[in-house]
């Protein structure tokens, strides 16, 4: 079965794509931290952060529509967690509503918190999306590895990237096999079969793990993944890093206004 790439658009060839993965990891993760440590009332700062990341997206030629669509994925989760805050937070009342016996009060501080959570998560997702869609996953892993991320974590991520589709295919095949044999039947039975599929998937994944390990050992694996060093950070990489970080600092310090 054909699946979307996790790193869709990472195949493009622009300045941003060519940058060393380490530079991108550092830049975009710093971006997230700068965004997080901005006070919620500094509306202008958020605007500038947005303009900054927006420009990088433009340079990277990753379709805006794709980035915006993907970035919205986070909104439901955030809303689910944060939507109730304005109603429970004490403070200056922004408005109150009554539904029969239910009395709801909106507070300004609560609204600010909601805005805070929403805008920060949204901007952070932009940063991470940009990282993922301008860097091929294997290179991203190499970057993390060189930034001294624990080897085990890199290995787990690399196996995840390799096997998530294999497992998805397996689950899909089992679902098809079930569907082609289930005619009606009550909900309880169908739900139970989902349980069976999950259990079978688990067992199969476990067995595959054993076989993969055997394949690794066959080729001399002894507990350490050896990798080739990639070429170092170039001038362009440093330029981008310096430029991007200075933009962040300038915005943070509010030098421009």
């Amino acid at each position: 079965m054909k699946h979307d790439f996790i790193d869709k658009y990472a195949e493009l060839d622009t300045v941003i794509h060519r940058l060393d993965p380490r530079v991108k990891i550092v830049s975009f993760i710093s971006f997230v931290f700068f965004v997080i440590f901005t006070s919620p009332s500094e509306f202008l700062n958020f605007l500038f952060y947005f303009i900054l990341i927006f420009n990088v997206i433009l340079i990277s030629k990753v379709p805006l529509k794709f980035v915006f669509k993907r970035s919205l994925v986070i909104i439901p989760f955030v809303l689910f967690v944060a939507i109730f805050i304005p109603f429970f937070k004490q403070g200056e009342v922004a408005g109150s509503y009554s539904f029969g016996s239910l009395h709801l009060t909106l507070s300004y501080t609560g609204l600010i918190i909601l805005w805070n959570v929403l805008v920060k998560s949204w901007l952070s997702v932009f940063g991470m999306l940009l990282l993922a869609s301008t860097t091929k996953f294997p290179r991203l892993l190499k970057g993390f590895e060189k930034l001294k991320m624990p080897e085990l974590m890199v290995m787990v991520l690399s196996f995840f990237y390799r096997y998530v589709f294999v497992l998805m295919d397996e689950a899909m095949r089992m679902k098809r096999a079930r569907d082609s044999r289930s005619f009606g039947g009550c909900r309880v039975r169908q739900t139970r079969s989902i349980g069976n599929i999950i259990a079978t998937l688990f067992v199969r994944a476990y067995e595959r793990g054993e076989r993969v390990y055997a394949a690794m050992v066959s080729r001399g694996f002894s507990g350490r993944i050896e990798t080739l060093g990639e070429s170092g950070v170039g001038r362009l990489d440093l330029c981008f890093l310096v430029l991007f970080m200075s933009c962040l600092v300038v915005i943070k310090l509010g030098i421009l206004w």
Partner: protein, 268 residues
């Protein structure tokens, strides 16, 4: 005299659940030979292959690879000599890119960057897949995955190539290409399969494994034309043999070309 590449004596193996998969297997493989291990499903073929580079270890029985006894001290050396290609390429290919996978073995050998790159390029060349270095294994076709699987082992430059069901699950065209490819490799080959037609084309000598025991071994022409032997062990002779036997000939040819010649000679 040609030296022995592999020597197995009275190998027994039982899985942790008590299932006895191998019940005293003995076999000799000489250098440069191409040997087939045939047998029905569950005969113990894969279990046997997993012993050849010490993935499975058994206390009962003895294995010698290129004059090295199978023991902890020799394990890494043996694994350099014996390249094992697994049946499912999704097991064999576990890295994010083709390059990483083919380079995995050489990197574990501690080779330099240049040597690793050279070996990867050469191995991919050998399986007719040059230029695939940057691709992700999960975006390859099944036939391509099979080829890359073989390359991941060739890059270690083994002296014995061990293949578990190399032709399972592939279309006839891809299968043909693969047979041709394997036929071109000069090194010692051990191929486990129940694809009798492929074994007939690729192997010089055949071991018939059934229920964990070697029932018979001999020249490929001798074993694969013995319809009674094969049929009583859930196998059957190649179609050429059945055709000629059915038409009343006593000595049936194994190879297609030979059969065609015979028919032309006799009929016209």
């Amino acid at each position: 005299m040609v030296s022995k590449a592999l020597e197995i004596r009275n190998l027994e193996y039982a899985y942790p659940d008590g299932t006895r998969a191998l019940k005293g297997v003995s076999m000799d493989v000489f250098e440069g030979e191409s040997v087939g291990v045939i047998g029905p499903n569950g005969a113990g073929k894969s279990t046997l292959l997993l012993h050849l580079n010490g993935i499975l270890r058994s206390k009962n029985g003895e294995i010698r690879v290129m004059d090295m006894h199978m023991e902890d001290g020799n394990l890494q050396k043996i694994r350099r000599k014996v390249g094992l290609v697994f049946q499912d390429p999704d097991d064999q290919l576990f890295s994010p890119t083709v390059f990483d996978d083919v380079a995995f073995g050489p990197l574990n050998l501690g080779l330099s960057r240049e040597e690793v790159e050279e070996r990867v390029a050469k191995a991919l060349e050998q399986v007719n897949m040059p230029g695939y270095e940057g691709r992700s294994p999960h975006h390859l076709s099944f036939g391509e995955k099979k080829r890359v699987s073989i390359a991941t082992v060739l890059s270690i430059q083994p002296e014995i190539l061990v293949l578990d069901e190399p032709t399972s699950n592939i279309d006839p065209g891809t299968r043909r290409g693969l047979i041709e490819l394997l036929n071109g490799f000069e090194i010692t080959k051990i191929i486990a399969s129940h694809d009798i037609e492929m074994i007939a084309e690729l192997c010089d000598r055949v071991f018939l494994l059934y229920d964990g025991k070697i029932i018979k071994n001999g020249d490929v022409g001798e074993i694969l034309t013995d319809a009674e032997l094969l049929e009583s062990h859930k196998l059957e002779p190649p179609i050429m043999v059945r055709l000629f036997r059915g038409a009343g000939y006593s000595n049936a040819p194994l190879k297609l070309g030979e059969g065609i010649r015979k028919i032309k000679h006799n009929i016209y």
